[in-house]
Symmetry: C2
Subunit: 228 residues, 2 copies
């Protein structure tokens, strides 16, 4: 499968590397590839410059959001939630038409400090906003409720734990379920909540996720729904 | 211990019955006891009239919110989140002073239909509102993330699953932890998130809780934090 992974941060890198490791063709999308490659410093979380990471992953390439989408069958959104709509607006509609978009972004709003709040929230969600703005995309919200290392390697956390799916297109959810299975997720731990409206529920897990991380002092945990 | 349980709905009845069963003195608080006892019909969820329930629990009494609080050492709030502040405002401050309030309410807003949204949400919580309005209360938010049958009998759901605590007063959280233990909660499944501000996180679990209930078709499930 040919994937375009939108976003050059640690989530995008983790997803891209895992997809490439599984034999998929992967292009990472960014606003301005030259600018992304020109960065010579680690980011504010201590991640190596993207160019260094890319050199260590020779099968993966970098292109604009639009060009990455053009050649891809499936899109993976790992951009910051606050810029996701703007990023997708920069892609030619023909390059989105009918494609599955796996939306991993959360609409975290750091403008009021840490821990962040959410925007949108409660009566809307980023997943719904993306689906409304691009009706020809088949949006599946998933994986947005855990650290990225767990997304692609669920065995990092011992025992059963849950990954949620939200989306209006049953075939899209089926293909995303197959991808999750290839990442190591067990069928019994993949919980389909229903339509894309249910993304409100998963995005609203972020506030407690951040506070559990604060209480536990690490991010190697995940939600499990016991009794379902 | 002498408990006042605020609220005559199924959550209040379940907590009151469990507390009485453990040998505690329990008074249920309501706005107008005569009115509560005069209701002869089942409520819109099919629960028996309160008077019938009360007759089946002869050790439990009913009084006004204020009188119930006056005689109690610990308060349990199971009122609808939308009326909680109004209910507490009707209690004489001297009857709240220094007491632990176990806040189980969620600020569900049904004005836009089902599933409900939350109000307050995101940058505030009901738990924080209660604590701000009554600084002399020691508010502990807990148990608000599951069906009431599970609150008082965690073994209903197989395996480990989590109950969260949020509150600013360490002694209050310690006494609530002892109560939870008496309900059957294992120490390893009681997760202290920190101050009352963290109630934002647990109240914001309600949207996904409602959608999981919709997907599962029952309420006998609970969140578990795996890996903490």
């Amino acid at each position: 499968m040919r994937y375009a992974v939108f976003g050059t941060g640690v989530v995008g890198r983790t997803l891209a590397a895992r997809l490439a490791g599984l034999g998929h063709d992967v292009v990472v999308g960014t606003r301005d590839p030259e600018h992304t490659l020109a960065r010579a410093e680690a980011d504010d979380r201590g991640n190596a410059p993207f160019a260094q990471w890319l050199a260590e992953h020779p099968s993966i390439s970098l292109d604009t959001f639009d060009a990455a989408a053009a050649g891809a069958e499936t899109l993976v959104n790992t951009t910051a939630g606050g810029v996701t709509l703007e990023v997708l607006a920069a892609v030619a509609p023909a390059h989105l038409d009918g494609k599955v978009l796996i939306d991993i972004a959360n609409p975290l709003d750091f403008s009021k400090g840490f821990p962040p709040s959410l925007e949108p929230v409660n009566t809307d969600s980023l997943g719904e906003q993306v689906q409304r703005a691009h009706p020809a995309l088949r949006v599946v919200k998933t994986l947005n409720t855990m650290n990225c290392a767990i997304m692609v390697d669920p065995a990092r956390v011992e025992g059963d734990h849950t990954v949620f799916l939200s989306g209006d297109d049953a075939d899209a959810k089926k293909s995303v379920t197959e991808l999750l299975t290839s990442f190591g997720w067990q069928d019994r731990n993949i919980l389909d909540l229903g339509g894309i409206e249910t993304a409100r529920g998963t995005e609203m897990l972020l506030p407690i996720w951040l506070r559990i991380m604060g209480s536990a002092g690490h991010a190697d945990f995940n939600f499990h729904i016991q009794g379902v």
